[in-house]
């Protein structure tokens, strides 16, 4: 198991036949997802082949500017994804700014720390390390950030009368949403805490599995997986803290008044 067995186009076609068999069965049974299934299968083939080609180019040229551009695109798409998962529509500018800053903290900074101080790649932006690392951090910390943000805004909206009552009693903005922030922090962190607890017993994490398939010694793969888990956990934590801080700041004004109009795109009712 030292070298990876290369897959031929013929191998992939055999796998595609399995999907085709499923499509045939679904069509016969009138289960109604035939079209979506075919389109999704074609999309995944085209998108992944394109990414493969792009990465091949990037890995060969190893130009910092090109790598930076790709990382920027990844960050922008992740910020967009965080926003699209919100139940309440946030003002476009603020929503985007807050998502980008939080994802920068959760993924960019953590990736840089890992490259410089932990893995010690040379040069530090070696794309074989930098891009997959950033991708995994963005993909995973994005969930926590989106969940924490949604929970904070939704709960604050539902409990706006309580928040205002607490303000009326002389509490500061921070005091008035303390419990809601605790709850939102939990909501953002629970998935990664569960993933750490289940890793290796219930699930074999994808990256580790991939490394083992490509011939890496299992213990080496496990070490990388532990590193990634820690990076994701730290990134998620810092990212959720950042997003909760930024959203709470935007939720109140300098006089500690509750101001949903500063945050949400839809009109909030007058009192």
């Amino acid at each position: 198991m030292n070298t990876l067995i290369s897959l031929s186009a013929y191998d992939l076609m055999l796998a595609a036949l399995l999907v085709l068999a499923l499509v045939g069965l679904v069509a016969r049974m009138n289960l109604g997802i035939t079209q979506q299934l075919v389109i999704a299968a074609i999309r995944t083939t085209v998108q992944l082949l394109l990414v493969g080609l792009v990465l091949k180019q990037v890995f060969e040229s190893a130009q910092l500017s090109l790598i930076a551009l790709i990382m920027l695109v990844m960050l922008t798409v992740a910020a967009w994804e965080v926003l699209s998962r919100q139940k309440r529509k946030i003002k476009a500018f603020w929503g985007f700014a807050i998502s980008v800053i939080s994802l920068f903290v959760s993924s960019f900074l953590i990736t840089l720390i890992a490259l410089f101080f932990i893995i010690g790649t040379d040069p530090w932006y070696t794309p074989q390390y930098a891009i997959p690392l950033l991708g995994m951090l963005l993909g995973n910390t994005m969930n926590g950030i989106a969940l924490g943000m949604d929970r904070l805004i939704q709960t604050a909206w539902q409990q706006r009368a309580v928040i205002e009552q607490r303000l009326m009693l002389g509490q500061t903005a921070i005091e008035a949403i303390r419990e809601i922030r605790h709850e939102s922090m939990r909501a953002g962190m629970i998935p990664i805490i569960n993933a750490m607890a289940a890793a290796g017993i219930v699930s074999l994490p994808g990256m580790m599995t991939g490394q083992i398939l490509s011939g890496t010694e299992p213990v080496e793969a496990v070490k990388y997986q532990i590193l990634i888990m820690f990076l994701i956990t730290a990134g998620t934590g810092f990212g959720v803290i950042a997003v909760l801080h930024l959203i709470s700041k935007r939720l109140f004004d300098a006089r500690d008044r509750l101001r949903f109009d500063q945050l949400l795109a839809e009109k909030t009712p007058d009192y």
């Binding site: 409990q159 009368a161 309580v162 205002e164 009552q165 607490r166 303000l167 009326m168 009693l169 002389g170 509490q171 500061t172 903005a173 005091e175 419990e179 004004d253 300098a254 006089r255 500690d256 008044r257 009192y271």
Partner: protein
């Protein structure tokens, strides 16, 4: 003591008035006419033009939270966020003043009636020792006996602390009982004098 100057609530003429220490001003008018918005403006809960001062201390001189510790707004419907009564109180309250015993501290909020919550919310507000009380229909869901107790408690509080109050009510006869000499009728946009001299 309380000076309200040129408060500009959208759709209304600028509002100005002054209250002397111990005074209680009534406010009446149809729902939706701006009574609650006036109270919210004085408590600095909404961004509204105009100045509000307590003696020499004006709104911008202190933080929003510090201002609202002194200028207490009692909303028409009280809100509670912990499971039991006690954690909602920042300071010890005179529970007996509205007929509660010490055991009330351990009551479950979910089992309190709306009238009990209303009376507790008044005690919770007074525990902060505010200088200005902004009361939005404070006795709307209380029976006659408790209504009178609340009226007496507020009158005593104002006299003892040299505080002032603005009392919003739909009930003319209540306003005539509680106000020092006048109430502001939003529907007619005019002050109505009901008593000749300020009782102390």
């Amino acid at each position: 003591m309380l000076k309200v100057h040129d408060i500009k609530i959208p759709g209304l003429a600028p509002i100005s008035f002054e209250l002397a220490a111990g005074e209680c001003l009534g406010v009446s008018g149809d729902s939706g006419c701006g009574k609650t918005r006036l109270l919210r403006a004085i408590a600095d809960m909404d961004e509204v033009e105009g100045s509000v001062c307590i003696d020499e201390l004006c709104r911008p001189d202190v933080s929003g939270a510090e201002w609202r510790k002194q200028v207490a707004l009692l909303p028409a419907e009280s809100q509670w966020w912990f499971d039991t009564v006690a954690p909602h109180f920042a300071a010890t309250a005179n529970l007996a003043a509205l007929g509660f015993g010490d055991e009330v501290a351990h009551w479950q909020i979910s089992r309190c009636s709306s009238g009990e919550k209303q009376r507790l919310s008044i005690l919770r507000m007074l525990a902060n020792r505010p200088k200005v009380l902004l009361l939005d229909e404070p006795t709307a869901n209380l029976d006659v006996e408790n209504t009178r107790k609340v009226e007496m408690l507020v009158a005593e509080y104002l006299a003892e602390n040299n505080a002032v109050a603005i009392w919003v009510s739909h009930n003319r006869s209540q306003l005539e009982r509680v106000v020092s000499e006048r109430y502001f009728d939003f529907s007619k946009a005019a002050m109505v004098t009901v008593k000749q001299s300020t009782p102390s």
